[in-house]
Symmetry: C2
């Protein structure tokens, strides 16, 4: 049975209008401009999707990068019979699965969108996944024209053509009007075409309201052999209702009841009974592919470790220091047999982050992402949603480039392992631009995010394995400098734990740290011992979740807490420790040593001293604290 | 006197090699590929720059977006006689002005770079500034080819041509090799040319080591009337030394002493005595332009308020609630007579952030930045360095898109006023993608950053004025919802202060808040009064710096502190308050109410209740705290 695209498009426009009017808010005009291209995609025998099994691994994927066109998104599935009119009218209401911008609560959302310019990166990730898995599914991404100003889109454009992703198609809803004014390019579709072609894409300009042209464009896209396709659809915002069509000032505003009445009159008679059929993939897929993707994103109990394989960790010589960043590279190779669904991405820093150790061993599982961190994180999100465990690395400082993408990934319930190297002033001579001093603060804000900070190579490898086993986003901070081995091979490092490295019955003060400053604390311990001052030293390798019990114990048993971190004063270890202790009502003091002066070039030792987070600063602070009258 | 470009280039290569070898680290090969194009720029009578007056307002500007080519940057000025060989040999040493990547300590640095892809945005800002001030200076930006993968570059490309910035030229050092491998485009300069042209630029491909072509290219760039120019220079990494030229694996590595000896042999005889002359601007500039730009970036005592004008604030009717975002728009117009050097930028949200109020009043001082937040912040940095006070607005959530640019702006000692609207879950139906829940955490990390959070329209306007008067970066968080007027017109709001709105001699508990939750706290106060429970309520409008005195007083005089914020639990008001109180050693408890559940669509009231940060949650917590045995 062949769908009647015009009738379906009319029904979908009806749905977009009534749902937003019922909500009293939303983006009907943005939905109406893209209705025909999306109707043609979903009901024109283009998209192959099993509506009963949204996570089926060989479904085509459809991402609304233009997330505010959510009324259209929901209406498409309503036209397919999967969303009732009642549900549609619950749009934007508290408790509804149909939120203002698509979230994971709605069963067909690939990833939450609404922060523009991010969807194409996710699409690139999903298209790459198809390649990795030798699956034939295609990935479609709907973009608005306003968001074409976002640089992240052009990162994705470059990567997609570089990787010859002919299984990826972008549909640009070129309706000319942004939120407050016309876009820079307006309706000059030839400009988008030139730009897309210069970035290595096949670019097709069409009348976005002509179903013949729409259908032909999807066909052409499907015929590409070595490049992705951008369908540039010239459209009218508010198409279908004369007083909305191409009119400025109508963005993000639902129609009043009166306006709705007029609009529906114009739309004409809607056949509410029609349902669009969505084609399904009916071919063969390679053996050994599980039918449902092992994605934890919809809350299923997923075991990441999909083989009963014990991990062979590197046997570090206890007397040879090894940087935790180096241990990261080793760990990736060591855990791989237990996690064959892992992939590794890096932003052209793999010889610094040591992602290259893995890349050399398993080049087909390594995705060079070049200097484009936003897109790298977006690709990781797409891969995560399709069941991969992505390990994503760059200098920790450069994850700040992708904070918006990282932020959105939390709402996708993603399973990304972010690994940031070159933390702190202790990177030395390269200076401030390369120093991550706010990364702990950034990653601590993620809902249910895990933040780990290993201080030696043994714990680093163990924590990488813990991260792989964990369901959810994890951030691991690694260090440039070599680190002395602190732990024996059989030590375990559960997420949420800590290690008390030094303690006695006469500890005056507790020093809590991680990374390079933990080693400073241990050196301080030795010197203070000679003066007869005992300090407890805690390795806070898990900053979030945090070992409440050990912290409270230390606060109760010692006079004061000192935290030390190669990080700014805000948002890191100091704040994390205080958040635990302040609710327990006991008298305590937390002195925090952190980076408070503008950093600069120098040797690591000079900089740690300059920032007063080194052994001497710790000793000085301990002495001060011990001498307080408490 | 005409400079001998070849001889100067040789001297500069010599300088790059010896300085990095002395440092034991650095990027000589990256410096050597760009040496000829930069020599041609600086010594070929192209750049017009008064070396004695780096901040002269009509100097041409030169930005090294490719910040790791710092050895070249310093060497250029050495060849001009402004840096001694001794200073060059101090490269990367602790205390040197010549850091690993350029910082403000070096007198000729326009902005610190080193996080790639940011320099062109700064250049766009500086070029726009020339337009605003009707000055004839040109802006030149050196880019590497690896960083062309950064989306931020393409944001800048689009904006620059949109604004027809013919006074801007980018030089692309296309040396093919990135850090760990070849770039995506390699030496296919025609691809960059196509891309640049599709983005509306004049694009010239040259042999980057041929001085005739270099000179001709700069001439052509200077002749453009309506578009910026990109000079795409095909170069060899490590040019000048055969065992380095175009060789992979040589990135970011200084030569050993032996290698240096061989390299210098190859370079041949260097004339150490030559000095390059740099041309200066010799024409007229319009009257009333002060000769030194009022930029605070080099630490001078600058008064932002450059006219003795008192500000006429809006007289808000005490019984009519007005959203703080609306007050922001009013404030911009009200302070403008006192700050004629302010400019306003917004990322295509001006009808939501109310930047449009200013845009309508002073369209020539408003810069529409479209949906490209990274570039918007970069432009603001460029404008700030040239003496403007940029007010930059978008949804607070979308500032996370520009965190790397914001991070770098702190090292520029910039004077940018970031204003983020639509904070928190209380934006309502739009849902999580639009909700800023980590912005306070982000901005709190900035060195010397100011973080303000007004709760009513009166204080909002006053704080905007305080922000304008303040020297340095400021972040102001505004709210979507209408807010009841809390203050009288004559109230003052110094940065670092707070307001105790409710207090008595029998306050049991202190509730500290700002924004929408402050109003919830005030409502809780009323109800608790009826139960005979007195609470103190503090408006923490200045989160950083923070009112230590009032907080300590409250902690001493009441049983416990409760913080409430429409923000995630990490990094915001709770952490800020705890950081103050924990060093004072008194017994206290801080209970923090914050957003801990994944947010969703709903009405503001429903969401505040759902997240347990509303009046009822505050009342419940107060009751719990009061009933503790303390």
């Amino acid at each position: 049975m062949k769908n009647n695209l015009s009738e379906l498009a009319k029904l979908i426009r009806y749905y977009s209008l009534v749902s937003t009017t019922a909500a009293g808010s939303g983006h009907p005009t943005s939905s109406m401009s893209a209705t025909d291209v999306m109707t043609g995609l979903m009901f024109g025998d283009v998209l192959k999707f099993d509506l009963e099994n949204p996570e089926y691994i060989n479904n085509d994927r459809l991402i609304f990068s233009k997330g505010h066109a959510s009324p259209l998104f929901y209406s498409l599935y309503a036209a397919a019979g999967k969303v009732s009119e009642e549900e549609l009218l619950s749009l934007r209401k508290f408790g509804s699965l149909l939120e203002g911008h698509p979230t994971m609560r709605f069963p067909y959302t690939e990833v939450p969108t609404g922060s523009l310019g991010q969807g194409l990166s996710v699409g690139v990730g999903m298209a790459l996944n198809a390649r990795l898995d030798e699956l034939s599914y295609r990935t479609y991404v709907l973009l608005g024209d306003s968001e074409m100003a976002e640089g992240s889109v052009w990162e994705a454009m470059a990567l997609a053509s570089h990787y010859k992703l002919n299984n990826l198609a972008a549909i640009l809803d070129c309706n000319r009007l942004g939120q407050s004014r016309e876009t820079m390019v307006g309706h000059h579709t030839a400009i988008y075409q030139k730009r897309a072609e210069s970035f290595g894409w096949k670019a097709i300009v069409i009348d976005g309201h002509n179903f013949d042209e729409i259908t032909e464009a999807y066909k052409l896209a499907g015929e590409q052999t070595d490049k992705p396709t951008m369908i540039i659809a010239k459209t009218l915002k508010g198409k279908g209702v004369s007083f909305l069509e191409d009119k400025p000032g109508k963005h993000g505003t639902a129609l009043s009841k009166d306006e709705l009445e007029k609009a529906l009159e114009e739309l004409g008679e809607v056949d509410y009974t029609i349902k669009g059929e969505v084609s399904k993939f009916t071919g063969e897929i390679p053996n050994n592919k599980s039918l449902i993707s092992p994605s934890a994103s919809r809350g299923g109990q997923i075991t990441n470790k999909i083989q009963n394989t014990s991990i062979q960790f590197t046997n570090y010589d206890p007397v040879k220091p090894v940087a935790t960043r180096k241990a990261y590279g080793n760990a990736l190779v060591n855990i791989f047999p237990a996690y064959p669904n892992m992939v590794v991405l890096d932003g052209e820093t793999s010889n610094s982050t040591f992602a290259e150790t893995f890349a050399k061993a398993h080049p087909h599982k390594y995705i060079e992402s070049f200097i484009a961190e936003q897109n790298m994180v977006g690709m990781a999100l797409g891969l995560s949603r399709r069941g991969k465990i992505p390990f994503v690395s760059t200098f920790a400082a450069f994850f700040s480039r992708a904070f918006d993408q990282i932020r959105m990934s939390q709402y996708a319930h993603a399973n990304i392992k972010f690994v940031g190297s070159h933390a702190g002033v202790s990177i030395g001579e390269d200076g401030s631009s390369q120093m991550a001093l706010e990364d702990l603060a950034m990653f601590r804000t993620l809902l249910n995010g895990v933040v780990l900070y290993p201080s030696d190579p043994v714990s680093a490898e163990k924590l990488i394995a813990e991260a792989a086993a964990h369901n959810g986003n994890v951030y691991i901070r690694t260090t440039r400098k070599e680190a002395a081995v602190l732990y024996s091979q059989d030590e375990k490092f559960p997420i949420g734990g800590s290690k008390t490295l030094k303690s006695s019955e006469n500890d005056q003060v507790t020093v809590i740290s991680a990374g390079v400053t933990l080693h400073e604390a241990l050196a301080a311990y030795e010197e203070l011992q000679k003066e007869g001052i005992n300090i407890r030293v805690i390795d806070l390798y898990s900053i979030k979740p945090i070992d409440v019990e050990s912290l409270v114990k230390a606060a109760n048993e010692t006079k004061a807490i000192i935290t030390v971190e190669d990080h700014f004063a805000e948002g890191g270890i100091g704040d994390a420790v205080r958040a635990v202790l302040s609710v327990h009502g006991k008298q305590y003091t937390v002195n925090s040593l952190a980076v408070t002066k503008e950093p600069r070039s120098g040797t690591p030792s000079e900089l740690l001293a300059y920032e007063e987070i080194d052994k001497n600063a710790i000793i000085k602070t301990v002495r001060q604290v011990v001498s307080y009258k408490l």
